[in-house]
Amino acid sequence: MNLEISTEVLRQIHRHGEAAYPEEGAGLLLGSDSGLACTVQAILDLPNTREDQARRTRYLLSAEDYLRGEAEADRLGLEVLGVFHSHPDHPNRPSEFDREWAWPNYSYIITSVWSGRAIESRAWRLTDDRQQFVEEPIAVRDLESNS
């Protein structure tokens, strides 16, 4: 499935990763799923609840954060489509840890941020057998953004 995203929302994701640098920044992707394509219309910034030093390499959004995210999506008439996070000074490929903790049917956008600058984002989706992530093409469009 394609992941559609507007230039503006993608820019917000990049800015989020840059602001969190050298730590990992993360949040939820909100939007709509037509069955043919998922369209990201807004992002929801959530606090990284990992402690101190671990925030450089890990992110954690708690169950309470997730519920808050779902409520916010409901309020906007959107769905939670997935998650975005940054990899400071590392490529935007999912790590083993990303795979172990991944939910199915979610898009995972990973942005590599080198020396404080967001370089590129790629999207990934877990396979049904949980064995691997497959890349999901990102289509950047100038859509109406809800945020």
């Binding site: 030093q53 390499t57 992110y59 954690l60 959004l61 779902e70 083993e96 995972y108």
Partner: protein
């Protein structure tokens, strides 16, 4: 019958159902019934050992069952059990250049304390290591992050590794060193310096051979399922040895 509320990422496995009625007098029985109805959910909710995956939370009437009686929590007929995701990810990496800088400082300053016969210097090293353990950073890592790395004197060596065992190892070393200093202050010089040398020896083993004894203890405790010791050694790595895989 209790109801299970299904989060959106799992609804493709429940034919789109957001709520499913199940049978069972406990959370475990209800989840078993749920999996029996939709078997393809099994790998997403439970690991190979049949334990609930750490990112799967079960809320009973808005309370996390981990804070109740876990999977044995009893369920009433009209209870609602909600599956709530927590979401995590990120890199598994440790910059071993920072760890080595730390080990070199611990060795050099402890040796200096011994040579000059200055227990206060050993006390300073122990204090720094305790502080580092509390702040979850290598005690003298700041020398690497602030000085050696920016100047290009020491190149980063980022490996696929877990930070937790290294933190534990530092805390372990700090404890031995602090006991050594206390023994020195109590006047038992032989035993006191012996403990200081133990820390020097273990740090040198780590620096020169790449074996972290404290990490080995951590992984051993993890295998014994000691609470709080959750990480397993990186793939293809003997517990405590420096991993080979670059992050």
């Amino acid at each position: 019958m209790p109801t299970i509320k299904v989060p959106s990422p799992l609804r493709s496995y429940t034919n789109g159902q957001a709520e499913v009625l199940v049978q069972g007098a406990t959370v475990a029985a209800a989840m078993d019934d749920f999996i029996a109805i939709y078997p393809s959910l099994q790998p997403h909710l439970f690991n190979g050992k049949g334990e609930l995956r750490p990112f799967v939370n079960l809320f009973l009437n808005s309370q996390d069952v981990r804070h109740l009686q876990g999977l044995e929590t009893p369920l009433a007929e009209d209870d609602r059990l909600m599956i709530v995701p927590s979401i995590a990810g990120g890199l598994e990496q440790v910059d071993h250049a920072a760890l080595r800088t730390n080990q070199a400082f611990i060795i050099a300053l402890s040796l200096l304390a011994f040579i000059l016969n200055q227990p206060w210097l050993a006390a300073f090293v122990a204090g720094m290591m305790i502080l580092g353990t509390i702040l979850r950073v290598p005690a003298f890592g700041f020398m690497y992050w602030r000085i050696f790395r920016p100047l290009g004197w020491i190149a980063p060596e980022v490996l696929k590794d877990n930070p937790e065992p290294h933190r534990f190892a530092q805390g372990f070393g700090a404890t031995v060193l602090a006991v050594g200093v206390a023994v020195l202050l109590a006047g038992a010089n032989g035993l006191g310096w012996g403990l200081v040398w133990l820390v020097i020896g273990l740090a040198a083993l780590n620096l020169l051979v790449g074996f972290c004894a404290g990490c080995a203890v951590y992984y051993w405790l993890s295998r014994l399922k000691a609470p709080g010791f959750v990480q397993a050694p990186p793939e293809d790595t003997f517990p405590g040895m420096r991993p080979k895989a670059k992050a």
